[in-house]
Symmetry: C2
Subunit: 229 residues, 2 copies
């Protein structure tokens, strides 16, 4: 059954937005009376029925409401966006499939990319959420500066950095069912000053394995390590 | 220092191939006497010096030879190529970064893609090997038919399939430091007949987590789970 995304159903919204309406009526050719599923991105999966097959504003009525519990851990990835934005969008798609609660884009000293199209990236996340059959949409924020990500409130804080003197792997560094933030640097890595600042703010340096990983691969590896608990 | 790929140095080759020569001389503007590093894809990392800066056939002399041991496990991913070939190429790049020894592409009943450009995919693998600083190039084969992958000789054999009656996760299904093959189906999944054939050939059904993953995401997740041991 086709799955749509429509936020704020609990606040009274009873129609699909323009893009989802168009997809339902023009692309999928759904009609009045057809059954659909809708997620609100906040943990509710609705079974619904189309009551007005309008390609601009498709109305529906709710048949059933199912609460989907969030998983027990909370993963926040803070990442410097890649020079080639496709790589960042790819990361967002894959991270949402694998599992992530929050993504923050930040700028730092060696960042090569100074702008991102947050709206476009959020669409990638919505699409991946639907594709992977999930009811929770991760929050995606940015660009913020490096000092802002240092104020992250998660209980366990990590910064991905290969330090041959201290090769603590993320898989051995976290405790289960907790809240985590992992900082992933740009192609040119963090500066020495940023690494020190992070450590002063209780971020632990962690490795993600023996191979040298691209920024977006490192970020996905971190998500997956924390998803495997 | 720039890293190049040149196979068969042990068999006496002492020049870079056309593409690598062009990259060294025309793009990087290297000259006679410049130091380079070369991997042969079979576990040897060479330090070398350019002796003739020819953009068609760059000659070098070996200064030092370092043997890089293979990791203790052997991961073979057999995957039905995706309809959109970019997703398959993406998988190859990321799998090589994370760690994989062999990739086989196969066709099965629900395959949507009937052809692949193996040469192009092998170039993606070479590029990812160099990018991630590795000396071993995975072997990449295909397209073969489904019956051929069923004859795989690895000690531990898995087929990725979500079976709600038997949700054995790959992470709990393998033993360490072994040889593995994991079969990853196409967008339309394996047929019932193929699942049965695989089981008759000692392939164990495994899950890769709670979320529904795209073909290429599932394949990468399998690589990463086995790399984390």
């Amino acid at each position: 059954m086709p799955l749509f995304y429509q936020p704020q159903i609990q606040q009274g919204i009873s129609f699909l937005d323009l893009e989802e309406s168009r997809h339902a009526i023009q692309v999928l050719r759904l009609r009045e009376g057809d059954s659909i599923q809708i997620v609100d991105g906040e943990g509710i999966l609705y079974s619904a029925r189309i009551t007005k097959a309008d390609a601009k504003k498709c109305l529906f009525e709710i048949i059933e409401r199912k609460v989907i519990e969030r998983r027990k851990c909370l993963v926040h990835i803070a990442i410097a966006p890649t020079k080639n934005i496709d790589r960042t969008e790819w990361f967002v798609e894959k991270a949402v499939e694998i599992g992530v609660e929050k993504i923050t884009f930040f700028q730092c000293q060696h960042s090569e990319r100074k702008v991102i199209n947050l709206e476009r990236i959020q669409k990638v996340a919505v699409s991946a959420m639907k594709q992977s059959g999930q009811a929770w949409l991760p929050s995606i924020e940015g660009l913020v500066d490096f000092n802002t990500v240092l104020t992250a409130k998660e209980k366990e804080k990590f910064i991905a950095h290969v330090d041959s003197n201290n090769p603590l792997h993320l898989k051995d560094a976290y405790t289960k069912n907790s809240e985590y933030v992992v900082l992933i640097g740009p192609e040119g890595d963090f500066s020495q000053q940023e690494l020190e600042q992070a450590q002063q703010n209780s971020f632990k340096k962690v490795s993600l394995g023996a191979n040298r990983l691209r920024t977006e691969t490192a970020a996905l590896a971190a998500c997956h390590i924390l998803a495997l608990q």
